[in-house]
């Protein structure tokens, strides 16, 4: 019986292996770019990988914990006083707002406009930020088990943060409004002028696209979501106009807004539910 053993095993050369593996990598990149076949895999990976992000947060959590537990009595009292003051101011504002909301509702009914839906929200905590400095994304600790869906708007106490782009069972991935692949339909609260706000890759700047020179926009104007496109509900604050510049020879203004939300440091966010989620439910991927 002839032996199958060889003294010198022959196999693919390093060049052949390299060509095969490089081809495989390029194929995966092409599949990722042209299709969304790999999205389920990314969603599964989210649940497997997110615990690693928890590990990377341990030093920061320890620091927070030590600050909370070893704060002096004076510091706690001072913080308590500040919170009391803020609470008083907010209560005063809410009492004013109640009458405004009631008046607004009456006017809407008179105008036969659909009532604004009461939004249901879920609080989520930041787990980590992916390391790629060119994209602005976050990992949150809520996923499909908490009914989170792709396209869901994410807010913090100040304004719009971004939208969910991938959902695992227990975690979700959020694309920030400052990411260069993100765009959101907005309008000027002062005069209702509509525009598209797109990310610049800078946490402190979002750009308004294709604004004609004749458009009425001024520094300090509050920009809110317009509700067009059915992705974001109407009226949530996005930011304030920080600069308006006319470029010589261009028919468009260069308008930048500073996001209201603190995109770099915020740790707790609100995931927004309301009546319109059924329309965006099932969208496979956003931000492209």
């Amino acid at each position: 019986m002839p032996s199958d053993r060889h003294i010198f095993r022959e196999g693919p050369t390093p060049l052949h292996r390299a060509v095969f593996l490089i081809g495989l990598a390029v194929t995966l990149l092409a599949i990722n770019y042209f299709t969304d076949w790999l999205d389920p895999l990314r969603a599964k990976a989210l649940d497997l990988v997110a615990p690693l992000y928890h590990v990377t947060n341990i030093p920061e959590r320890l620091s927070d914990w030590s600050q909370e537990n070893f704060a002096s009595r004076e510091e706690v009292l001072a913080e308590n006083q500040t919170l009391r003051d803020e609470n008083l101011i907010l209560q005063a504002r809410v009492s004013t707002m109640t009458s405004v909301v009631a008046e607004n509702t009456r006017l809407r009914q008179l105008l036969n406009v659909a009532e604004l839906l009461e939004a249901r929200v879920l609080i989520a905590e930041l787990v980590g930020t992916p390391p790629d400095s060119e994209t602005h994304r976050l990992i949150l600790d809520k996923g499909q088990n908490q009914e989170i869906f792709v396209g869901q708007p994410v807010l913090d106490a100040q304004g719009l943060v971004g939208q969910v782009v991938s959902v695992g069972a227990e975690y979700s991935e959020v694309l920030l409004i400052s990411d260069r692949g993100h765009a959101v339909p907005v309008q000027n609260l002062r005069n209702g002028v509509r525009a598209i706000a797109e990310g610049t890759g800078d946490f402190q700047r979002v750009r308004l696209r294709d604004i004609p020179i004749t458009m009425d926009l001024a520094v300090g104007d509050e920009i809110v979501t317009s509700g067009l496109g059915d992705r974001f509900p109407k009226g949530y604050p996005v930011g304030r106009v920080s600069s308006v510049r006319a470029v010589e020879g261009s028919p468009f203004l260069e308008v930048e807004i500073k996001p209201d939300s603190d995109l770099q440091t915020t740790r707790h966010m609100l995931l927004l539910f309301s009546g319109w989620e059924s329309r965006v439910f099932g969208l496979s991927r956003s931000g492209r």
Partner: protein, 174 residues
């Protein structure tokens, strides 16, 4: 092409001991964890510990299947970093392919003198990664990429100095 690694092992340690495949991937996962750990005050800059591990393994402890292991380490890095699948795998496969040509020359140098080659390889990796990002989103890399490369390369002399004995150059006495 320099020394060939042992087939069936990932990294060969002194005394002929080898690192098994599961242990190699635990090391890759540990490197990935370091990669995703934000640096206080500079969250955009990350230490590419996976590239350091793959380069160290290929320069100093070459085992069998270097290209496949580099590719798989890259895929794990892609998954952990939520990057497009293949982004890091492409770069790590390429450097694993080129390292055998420069292995012997690099090992003759002191860790500090190795830095230009190491920085070049890390820059090449970063360039490929940025190229993929540019194709995907039309984004050109920022200066943070350069700082990340410089910070990562600063760890190379520490790793080599800790795990390898320095090459001794003996001068002929007259």
């Amino acid at each position: 092409m320099g020394c060939q690694g042992q087939a069936g092992s990932t990294m060969v340690l002194p005394g002929g001991k080898t690192i098994s495949l599961p242990l190699y991937f635990i090391l890759v996962l540990a490197a990935c964890t370091l990669y995703i750990t934000p640096i206080p005050g500079a969250s955009n800059i990350r230490i590419d510990a996976v590239a350091l591990l793959v380069m160290y393994a290929n320069f100093y402890r070459p085992g069998g299947w270097p290209l496949t292991l580099g590719f798989c380490a890259g895929l794990v890095q892609d998954l952990v970093a939520f990057a497009p699948l293949g982004q890091h795998a492409l770069g790590l496969t390429l450097i694993c392919f080129f390292i055998p040509w420069m292995r012997d020359a690099l090992r003759m140098l002191t860790p500090i003198k190795q830095l230009p080659i190491v920085i070049s390889l890390l820059l090449f990796l970063k360039f490929l990664s940025s190229w993929v990002t540019a194709l995907n989103l039309g984004i050109l890399p920022s200066l943070d990429a350069l700082w990340a490369v410089l910070l990562t390369s600063a760890f190379w002399p520490i790793i080599v100095g800790r795990f390898e004995s320095a090459p001794k150059i003996r001068r002929a006495s007259v």
